[in-house]
């Protein structure tokens, strides 16, 4: 078996035929600006799905539609057997968590506390119980802390556990943000440019973590990325957007050979 075949067979085991999410005919516009024009694609359970495209292609808008930040004028989303658009907190309770293009961490809080906030949806006891920190509330906190520690161990950030995130270098902050998203134990993880602003080494680390998350926990991942080479290396299938429209959808090799994609990235005279 050649290396490529080996990778392919590993991917076959990992990805099931089951569709986790299907995005159908999404149209989104802000006033006269058409951000998304009739975009449809699906995400299979267990795969790493990438959305790529040049600047302003509508990638982040698409992610915001998926987890309910934006409400499209038309179209709907099918997720885990249910059809319909979700609000952000619904998406979170249903196992969708995300990271942001521009970091959205609590800068004054430690790494540990930031990741703990990712457990928010898992905490059942109300504020009063937690304030008393007694009995069931304490047990619950221990359980959540354990989950957070697993994430810390997984992302190898033990040494910054008690460091306020504002003091950390950018690459590590990105990793903490991934940690917070992971702490929610998502089924679908949305990553908005997880590698932007990173140097080569940090990118390599981040790639490894994304692959490991997918491999160890079976988490389905949908990521947006600017850096083509990174995307092509780690994703199973790629959607390409340009000016709000889907221009290609397929495996990295198929997408790479697609003339419309080459034109969109290199630019052609219209």
């Amino acid at each position: 078996m050649t290396a490529t075949e080996e990778i392919q067979s590993a991917a076959d085991q990992r990805i099931s035929d089951e569709v986790l999410m299907s995005v159908r005919n999404i149209r989104l516009s802000f006033g006269g600006v058409k951000a998304l024009r009739d975009v449809s694609f699906d995400i299979a359970k267990g795969e790493i799905r990438a959305i790529i495209g040049p600047n302003g292609a509508g990638k982040t808008s698409m992610l915001n539609v998926i987890n309910g930040v934006y409400h499209p004028q038309e179209g709907t989303i099918f997720y885990k057997g249910k059809t319909g658009l979700m609000k952000p907190h619904e998406a979170a309770t249903k196992g969708i968590s995300r990271t942001f293009q521009n970091l959205a961490l609590f800068r004054g809080m430690t790494t540990l506390d930031n990741i703990m906030t990712g457990r928010n949806m898992k905490i059942k006891r109300n504020f009063l119980w937690q304030a008393l920190r007694w009995g069931p509330a304490q047990r619950e906190e221990s359980e959540n802390r354990e989950a957070v520690e697993r994430v810390i161990g997984f992302l190898e950030i033990e040494s910054i556990r008690k460091t306020p995130v504002g003091r950390l270098p950018y690459g590590l902050q990105k990793r903490v943000e991934l940690g917070r998203a992971l702490a929610a134990e998502p089924e679908l993880l949305l990553l908005d440019e997880p590698m932007s602003g990173m140097n080569v080494e940090e990118k390599e680390d981040m790639c490894r973590f994304i692959l490991d998350v997918n491999d160890e926990f079976g988490t389905t991942i949908c990521l947006i990325e600017h850096d083509m080479s990174v995307v092509m290396d780690i994703s199973d299938r790629v959607v390409v957007l340009d000016y709000g429209s889907k221009i290609a959808d397929g495996t990295p090799n198929e997408v790479r050979a697609n003339q419309a994609v080459i034109d969109a990235y290199l630019g052609v005279s219209h």
């Binding site: 997984f154 040494s159 160890e216």
Partner: protein
Amino acid sequence: MTVSVDIAKYDTFPKLLRFNANSRAGLPAMREKDLGIWQTWSWAECAEEIRALACGLKALGLDKGDKLAIVGDNRPRLYWAVAAAQSIGAIPVPVYQDMAADELKYVLDHAEVRFAMAEDQEQVDKLLAIAGKSEALQAIIYCNPRGMRHYEQDYIHSYADAVEKGRDYDRANPDFYVQAVDATTGADTSVMAYTSGTTGQPKGVVLSHANILKTAYNAAVWENLQESDNMLAYLPMAWIGDYIFSYAQSYVVGFCVSCPESPETVMTDLRELGPTYFFAPPAIFENLLTTVMIRIEDAGWLKRKMFHYFMAVARRCGPGIADGKAVGLVDRALFGLGNILVIGPLKNILGLSRVRLGYTAGEAIGPDIFNFYRGIGLNLKQLYGSTEASVFVTIQPNGEIKPDTVGTPSPDVELRIADDGEVMFRSPGVFQEYYKNPEATAKAKTADGWVHTGDAGFIGEDGHLRIIDRAKDVGTLTDGSMFAPKFIENKLKFFPNISEAVTFGADRDYVSAFINIDLNAVGNWADRQNISYASYQELAANSQVYDIIAEHIIQVNEDLAKEERTAGSQIRRFLILNKELDADDGELTRTRKVRRGFVADRYAKLIDALFSDLTHCEIETQVTFADGRTDTVKADLELRTLPAPSREAGAAARHAAE
């Protein structure tokens, strides 16, 4: 009586383990963090794990006399693997975890390693990269299952798997383990330690149980170690010091050894554990001091003043107080106040509050750095030793600590200075041989057991040994003045801005130096000056950085001028290297000692330029990345000449002192 074990009866580590499991069953033996919480294994629990693992290794096919490589950071499971291998008469061969694959291959081939115990996927991958090429390597056992799910090779086993097999084997052959341990003898090989070597290929130093046990025991009795002591094992397991301190002495004395959560958390772990017994090579003490100095420079005005004031007090009278000498009442009071305001909290931050005994060895420590730590009340001692001696040759006795000596011979060690000034020793710890290298053995060890150290030194009237330098490194300038490179470099390295220095001057007209700046310290300074930089290379080429380094060197020169012996070897010219000296490039040993000959060869062009009138020199250097890829870096380096050293100033200073 603190060390209560009879080492004539319990003459091997597996037997000592049995003793500890009986007499100290419930006492802590090892600690490691899991999910952020310290977990403890008692001696009885360790003994059970080791028994299961030993049987597991046997079941997987490891036999008496076979070698088991240990590859990874300090982990309880790896320490157990050492004991497990010894229990069945196999020989542990710990290797440096940061070795590149081909270095590792050399050691594994040379030692004919059959089994390897690896910490994690990274190490397994490294082993797999060479497993095909190494004939002997037959099985790999990994401790951390992360990322290992897709490895389907039948010769790769998980730790849990090995232990499981071991328990089955133990049930089927209940007498095996006990008999195997009974069969071990003091003459058996305890460990094969590959020395990093400042020259040539690594050599496998064969040390018997008797060598290690007797030496560890002697030093433990001498220093009055207690079973209530505890230590953090954070230095490479392949280094003989770690084997002695974190393994041998722990077994002999029964104290608890903790493993850091990860190499990056050592500082936090130190603070949480508060070890009482601490070892660090000079480089670590230098780094700690640099970190402190950087933080202080960032602190507020009042704190900065307080720090410097009380550190001056500590330097002046701290060592005296620690040694119980007469110190004036005012000084005592000031020191007491400083202890509350500055020194105590500082020690606490460094995790050194509870240290009863600290050692530094490996190479000479700068007297200023040494006095700093002595000053803050740390019982820091220098010791002198080598792998070939099972570490201990000399130790500084309590109350007789002088920065310029390495102490008196430790118990049972005989010391003599050869006619050419080389230090030689004979002790129960003297190694058996270099594995498969009788010529080297014969060269290093005389027929009656004396070992050549390769260091030049002399024994003072007080009976203390003083090491001048590596014998072959000490030279003379063309005008006949002595040139001891290490001595000058240590003075340079005291400045937080300088992380490494290499000086040249043997048979030359004057001394010149290569400098590596400390990226943290200088980077911090640059931040405060609003100097932007993107890399080490850029910062190193900055002319303002050259200015501060020049100032430091001038200070060193003034220092050198004060001593007649060293006045001639003041530094005239220097440059800041465009890359940090690195073990991956072969410029340092794995224990971070400069490989002088190699550096001189590699940078011959720069050295020639330093001894000419050039003000600039272009250089192309090869760098090796952690994964073995190489790349070349080009740079145009500035060479800076310092004002001619004034001997008159030195003479005047001396005159004033008299």
